[in-house]
């Protein structure tokens, strides 16, 4: 199973998470988003970039409750809330946004 980006083949697991984290690129993120039926806006990118920074620093994808709390702190309560995040990523912010960000599935996410 794989995504096709600029003539490159990028492997993913049965749920769509890429298997080699260093394969990630912005073009790949757009491709994964397309498969997830998400139209990437600036607001989506802000969350995806936040997740990538978090992973870079702590080596884990945060649980959704931790993600929302951290976004609230960084970007304010109008963005750091469940409603806003689920509007951006209807199938779960941690799950879908992590997939697009090229991270592993969040720890404890089934």
């Amino acid at each position: 199973m794989s995504y096709q980006v600029n003539g490159h083949t990028i492997e993913h697991d049965e749920e769509g998470y890429i298997t080699t984290l260093s394969d990630w690129s912005k073009e790949l993120a757009d491709e994964i988003a397309k498969v997830e039926n998400i139209d990437m806006t600036e607001e989506h990118w802000a969350v995806v970039n936040f997740l990538r920074d978090y992973y870079d620093e702590y080596q884990i994808a945060p649980a959704v409750r931790v993600l929302i709390k951290a976004i609230k702190k960084e970007m304010g309560p109008e963005k750091g809330n469940n409603k806003y995040m689920y509007e951006l990523f209807p199938y779960g912010p941690a799950k879908q946004a992590c997939k697009i960000a090229g991270l592993p599935k969040p720890t404890g996410c089934v």
Binding site: E57, Y58, Q59, I60, P62, A63, V66, K69, A70, T107
Partner: protein
Amino acid sequence: MSETKKFLYVNRKAPYGTIYALESLEVVLIGAAFEQDVSMAFLDDGVFQLTKGQNTEAIGVKNFSPTFRALGDYEVTKLYVEMESLEERGLGPDDLQEITYEDEDDDWEEKPSIRIVSRTEMADIMADQDVVLSF
């Protein structure tokens, strides 16, 4: 809502070579969602888990030591390290990485999560728990 219980995760093994340390950390992160009173204890070779400047490149496994610094986000803010275990291995508090949490009840002030305790104090901490899980 049911009553909060005190959970202590006891870590006695070095970070790499076996899966215990990483599994313990993952269980703590998952368990943190259940809003219990969670703390971690590090003794014997477990104190090596918190040492700073870990580099796992040569053994080809992920260096998960930065993940301990995320524990504060999960409201795990008590990491007890046994002084005697450090000393027996030629280590001191300065050999451990800095781990902090933001105290919600004190204007989000950053406070250290690592608490160095003696063997006697560690025994009291263990005796005070509802659940002790050993890794």
